[in-house]
Symmetry: C2
């Protein structure tokens, strides 16, 4: 007798699990090398060697009781200071350790932020296509997700629809740039316009609306693309960051929240984030990895690995006739499905041993997502299968 909420969630999750199992089934039938799984976002770029070095250094230099022990629920003060100074150095901001809260990845961070902010039925705006977990995170706290479309050519938010969707119940807006699933990076001009709209609506409704920037892909950008720093654009900005992709540590669950020091009720928010971290059962971000990531703040994986993948698969698919916005960051393509029914298209692709995720999983039917954080060799091997698939439509 599981809860009613969970019954529905288990049911919808079984679709993803079914795809995962289908991948295994196909691999068993045809050999792993003849199945092209582009369905999941599990990084294949190896973690930098500095990670292992930092672990060993921490274990040999520090008292194990301190390394593996409890600290303030918001994280070690020295780690938070190091992150604040790192961000100040890059972005010229004035952060202090108190505005940094260590989290169990960005997923943990987003839940802690939403627990802090949402009363039941408060509205949270997301832009389609969006990372499907946002719906679950908002639902965890009985918030109401409001979906605003993006421009189908650029995948940038439709600002007039955005403006119309803001109500007195709007408590937060979630953006994700570089974006999963489109790879788009929001330019400064767009963020400026979004901030102006938010400021006007806050004034109209005498409300505070928080702009939550989900940034696990911050460092994964190509062609010298710059990712604007959201704290420069809007007062009520909160960042959820993760090392999962920048250091290829998704299993370790380590990231942090940044609250703009000038945000409305900043002091109360920081106190509540601390308590929410504890009572949601995170207690604190994993202690060893707090210390390890703080030692290597300037280190990232080799982003060239994903750029090479992007170039190969993007060029191949567009040359075959697929329509696709060129991703500037993250490690996904979000091409248009050649037939209106994206689920059916993904089923057809499966016949060619290609595993893709239909756009409807991201609130955006008529498209499909392809994760290119796979090995370059898998992409090379998959090219003829894409040719056969494309030949059906173009």
């Amino acid at each position: 007798m599981i809860s009613q909420k969970m019954q529905k969630l288990v049911q919808s999750s079984s679709v993803i699990r079914a795809m995962f199992e289908e991948g295994h089934r196909l691999a068993a039938l045809y050999g792993a090398n003849n199945v092209y799984d582009f369905s999941i976002g599990n990084p294949t770029a190896p973690p930098p060697e500095e990670v292992t070095q930092a672990i060993i250094e921490t274990l040999s230099d520090e008292n194990p009781i301190a390394v593996h022990g409890y600290m303030n629920n918001s994280g070690y003060e020295d780690v938070r200071t190091a992150i604040a100074e790192h961000l100040n150095g890059i972005h010229g901001c004035q952060l202090h350790y108190e505005q940094i809260i260590m989290t169990c990845g960005a997923a943990g961070g987003l839940n802690v932020i939403l627990k802090t902010l949402l009363n039941p039925n408060d509205e949270v705006i997301v832009f389609a296509p969006f990372f499907g977990e946002y719906a679950n995170y908002i639902n965890n706290f009985d918030g109401k997700m409001v979906v605003v479309p993006t421009d189908p050519d650029t995948f940038l938010p439709n600002l007039s629809r955005f403006e119309d969707s803001i109500t007195p119940k709007t408590k937060a807006v979630i953006i994700n740039t570089p974006n999963n699933p489109t790879g788009v990076v929001y330019p400064a001009s767009l963020l400026n316009e979004m901030a102006q709209i938010l400021e006007k609506k806050q004034s109209d409704f005498s409300s505070s609306i928080y702009l939550i920037s989900d940034e696990p892909y911050r460092e994964l950008v190509y062609d010298a693309t710059q990712v604007p720093f959201i704290l420069d654009y809007f007062k009520n900005a909160i960042i959820g960051y993760s090392y999962s992709k920048s250091l290829s540590l998704p299993g370790e669950r380590i990231g942090y929240i940044v609250v703009n020091p000038c945000a409305d009720d900043c002091h109360d928010i920081l106190a509540a984030l601390n308590v929410a971290t504890r009572i949601l059962g995170f207690v604190n971000a994993p202690s060893l990895f707090q210390k390890v990531t703080a030692k290597i703040l300037d280190t990232t994986i080799d982003v060239g690995i994903y750029q090479k993948n992007r170039d190969l698969i993007y060029n191949h698919l567009t040359s075959l006739g697929f329509e696709c916005t060129k991703p500037q960051g993250a490690f996904y393509l979000f091409p248009k499905s050649p037939i209106p029914d994206d689920k059916q298209f993904c089923e057809i692709a499966k016949q060619y041993h290609i595993l893709l995720v239909p756009g409807c999983s991201f609130g955006c039917p008529g498209y499909f997502r392809l994760s290119y954080c796979v090995s370059y060799e898998q992409i090379v091997r998959s090219l003829p299968a894409f040719e056969q698939l494309a030949a059906l439509f173009f």
Copy 2:
């Protein structure tokens, strides 16, 4: 503008923070050695050397992408298999990896379990005194906490009150043995009686009631005390385990859930625990520490450290006139306050630089909690202060 729920939680948390800050203030005034902080449960027994060895071994033997990468939300299959086999070896049960879900400590595990089970207004029974976080965890999912008293001489549940408190809305019962804050271990005879009551009520109400056993102190027992294995006593049993105390790794957030294979709706529960782990934002238990703890399943800290502490402080306090049930496990004393107002007593103790937690924080006024997971030296230094304090009352 933080949420209304969080406003209240921040307010109540400020009491604990105030005590923490008072400790710092006193230490600054009188020197850290002259302040006797018995308020928190932060283990001081060092993690076994095997932990560091297992980390280094894992880093040198395994592919870093696998060590730090995503796995099934329920955890690595080989880790879960090792835990199942470890428990089968000790307890003669028949667990399979599928019934083990890796969690971010017991706090994460309890939240995942309650998310899985609770509909709004479902009732969860706890026994006072209880770990105060249970109230928050139950409240996270809009459950209703029902408090049943224990016998004041033994701190074992009052079974007739327990029976009377079970209603058709009772979804779960949380037990914690060895117990925080009393140190009591529930004997087999009591668990048998509790199971009989639960079975009768399940039959009366045609309901399933889950007995959640919160077991972070399982290995911390003294005088050869045996902790009965709850799966042997009741079909609908679910264990929340943590390595925080057994390996002194509280900062690493690593533990697991065990679901009795014969529990009602076991298959659905396991599927829902997997999904709840993901959507609550845990995603998975920290990956490196899954592998590390699985390598050293037979290892624990030196429990003798805490036993020595217990003997010193228990004997001293009782010789001074304090009434106290002798703890069989965990690392807390829960003596009777010499005056009815436990908060006032803790304030008086503070004048002697002794920091204690009033029993009302555990739903049990008239008592106080003393954590003896501190250094032996701190206990020795504190003895004269306790003598002065006791002289006021006895």
